[in-house]
Symmetry: D2
Subunit: 287 residues, 4 copies
């Protein structure tokens, strides 16, 4: 194994992932965060925010398809969608695959980041920013939700940085208080989904978020998918008051995918059911 | 994130995992390999062979339960079991949980490693070496299989180091030739299971092993589980000529688990079905 | 280059040194600091405090001989010596080589560290703790100096951790205020020497310490020696009001070394003169 | 200390230096080597060949001034100079400062590297390539010397990659055989100087080179300077049959520097004498 240029990414206080760098396309600071666009030997071009990989060409499909489609499919007729975060445009790309969608609001606090994504991450956003159904709002997601009127959305997707940092910008969006605000702007049959980091390395924070969401929503489903360039299995929380996620069979799910003409690389009915059934992995604690 | 003592573990030529070390219990070379027993901050005590983590207290249950139980359950009445490798005794521990088992032969080439495991890894082997049904054979697994008479075993479990190194000691055990030898020593309804490394970082080697196994066995099932201290999702190959792994429902599987009085931390019928359905994750290759 | 156990040591915010670990002899926290005793492949057994190497078998002779002998030789008849810090006993060992010495007070804040050094670092202290001329005082060096009466010492040696951390325990000992206190307890012809970290990576802090010392002492000499296991050239500040360090020739210096029967591995008159003439290395700043 | 993009540079088999990357200006492979031009936080723009830093803006002056001027000054009237290696043009830059110089041949095997240096490393070569006295020859230095007629040069400067790799391209240029060839093309009063890597981490190779050079030249002087971005003190070997390097006083040396109108940032007569007197640092080996 040869030395040279490596990106060292924090996984936990006591674990990090080293990824060989082929080149650095961009490195700079926006008003909100440090943005790097790096070409990794193992993962292709990737977006890194404040030292943490958000998306890479080789594995972002696993993340974005797993984040978006279960929630979208669980809703009967998702027309109005809110994405909080998701600056690189890939969550938007997946949402727009559902032909039921009329309007997607993507709210990202960092306009400079969105501009960088437009410029450098074409292989990731694939033009989604320019879809006529997409509205890009540059604003703090928290404030956007606060000023939004009731029952505006069918599906809300939180695609934010990890919730670990107690002083981080995303922290207050992973709380019972904010989940109640989300619920307020969701229609009766609305669905919320959020990436919520990792349950093995940050079990306490993970458990707290799940508890908080269960205080607000009737059905909460935990699932996960391993993302190689994250160095861990990313966990998702799917929440709704309307449809029990376990009620739908894999055939039901596939029928909806076909009906909406959604084309995926990874997700299908069987995989959604399997992810729901596998849950998340935690540490075995020895006495 | 503070500096200090770290274990840097190769994941691929272009990725490595850094794990903070609390202490080093043992470090030395046996006739066959470099053995380290390290206490990691995130994973507790772990066994490292030639620089690669094999088992740690925090997550070995995920690996060993996923390796052992699907194959054992798929067999109707597993009495005679062969484990190739598995020096730390945890695969043996899981096999012995099935009350159908009469005799387990565990063949590991490295007697010094087994002695170190007995001495230092009690929390991992949990006394399995001393079960009267267990026979520990210190011998090259390849030679053991070659000199074994036909149809001796119900289940064969390959728990070896990764197949990536073309000159590594385990390489010839991941070939069509060897799978045919395994088949020769399996009974008609016998089942083979093997860990086969990772499909994302080593797709070509992975695909080759799956192809080879499909030339030898009627049913080949690919599944996987994320192991935090490996830095990746470990893949398994389950092969048999007798029972289609997809035929059993999760209730069927759970019934067998209960009947055999197998107590697990992780695996159950639903999780086995889900793992079978999720398969393994590979790179998305951009044009 | 193979992976495995490595100690990652901070050199600056933007540089670190990776050192392969053979074994970890001790790791624990005293009341004052994190103490590790590590066997490094390249450096043998070493003492690490709060993540920074203090001494290793392979190169501590360069550090301790360079710290101690120039100051001791510059004094005409050093009888009473004060060492502030120096918990591993090697500065004491070098001081005691001068047959003029009647009494050495070594003040270290961390009694547990001294006990660990006695137990594990025999190859480094070489029994110096047990010399009848040595008095080990477990106390904050700052307080010890404050409560010491005037003109007690011929030579004061500051062997403390680096001055970089603005909130670190050693910070207030690298100030004009403290240098004045040292001067107060030095005899008229007394000499102060201190390690003061590195001038390349921490030029501002380095320059400040030199300026402060020049406000207090008539002659201030800067010199340095590369310490491999530090990852940098360590700088020293020698200060006195009495003898101009440049006045002595290398022959003068060697005569003193011989007269006092001091046996060294590295230092002699020529090397002291050369170190004085080479000064320290700083960054070239481009416009 | 934050994670992110780092360059990991081998210092020895068991030591490496981590340097934070600000950006990567160029990365590619020439016919002969992997070339990277990297901006380091601590060192500014630097040239890296096959993973080893050759020159950075912050500290290359220490290396190139220490390599060039002692040899140039030791010669009475250096007119014709040969540089072997030195692709980034900084050795050439220093040689050209001596107003005695009529002609400098710089022989570097890698024309692509020289072109990259011209394009990207202006702050380092400072236009030296375009001096009318400079002749750039793209050729294997070994072959160039072999085909050169006797007594062509006053000073020969070897500015090559490190001699550690037994199969490396530079290895055969650090041998008695090659030193004899150098001697053949030097005039009677000629001087050879070469960087020869590090004596602490590679003492055996270092000692062998010194022994070899002593078999060929009457006077061999060892000296060194710490280069922060190398992670070690680089050692030099100065060899001649004519003038004993110790014979000149620092005043003699300074007189020559002034007479030739050489302007330096670091080197002067006192520092040259001091470097000669300090020699190189080696490991203390414990029994």
């Amino acid at each position: 194994m040869s030395l040279g240029g490596w990106y060292l990414q924090k996984v936990s206080e006591n674990t990090f992932l080293g990824m060989r760098i082929r080149s650095i396309v961009f490195s700079g600071r926006t008003k909100y965060q440090h943005v790097e666009i790096v070409v990794f030997e193992d993962y292709g071009t990737g977006l890194v925010l404040d030292g943490l990989v958000q998306s890479t060409e080789a594995d972002e499909y696993l993340y974005h398809e797993s984040l978006v489609h279960p929630a979208m499919i669980l809703h009967n007729d998702p027309k109005n969608i809110l994405i909080i975060g998701g600056g690189e445009g890939a969550t938007l790309r997946e949402v727009l695959k559902h032909n039921t969608v009329k309007h997607v609001v993507m709210v990202d606090i960092d306009g400079e980041l969105v501009d960088l994504a437009k410029k450098y991450l074409g292989s990731i956003h694939q033009g989604s920013f320019y879809d006529p159904r997409a509205e890009i709002v540059i604003e703090d997601g928290y404030k956007y939700v606060m000023r939004t009127s009731d029952k505006s959305f069918d599906v809300v997707i939180m695609d934010l940085t990890d919730p670990y940092d107690p002083h981080g910008p995303a922290r207050e969006l992973y709380t019972e208080k904010f989940f109640r605000e989300i619920k307020r702007i969701l229609k009766e049959d609305g669905v919320l989904v959020s990436q919520i980091g990792n349950a093995f390395y940050y079990e306490d924070i993970y458990n707290k978020i799940i508890e908080d969401s269960k205080r607000v929503f009737r059905y909460v489903k935990e699932y996960s998918v391993w993302i190689p360039s994250f160095g861990y299995e990313v966990c998702f929380m799917l929440a709704t008051d309307h449809t029990n996620p376990d009620k739908l069979s894999d055939e039901d799910l596939d029928k909806i995918i076909r009906k909406r003409n959604v084309s995926t690389r990874y997700i299908n009915g069987i995989k959604i059911k399997a992810m729901f059934n596998l849950g998340v992995r935690k540490k075995l604690r020895h006495s």
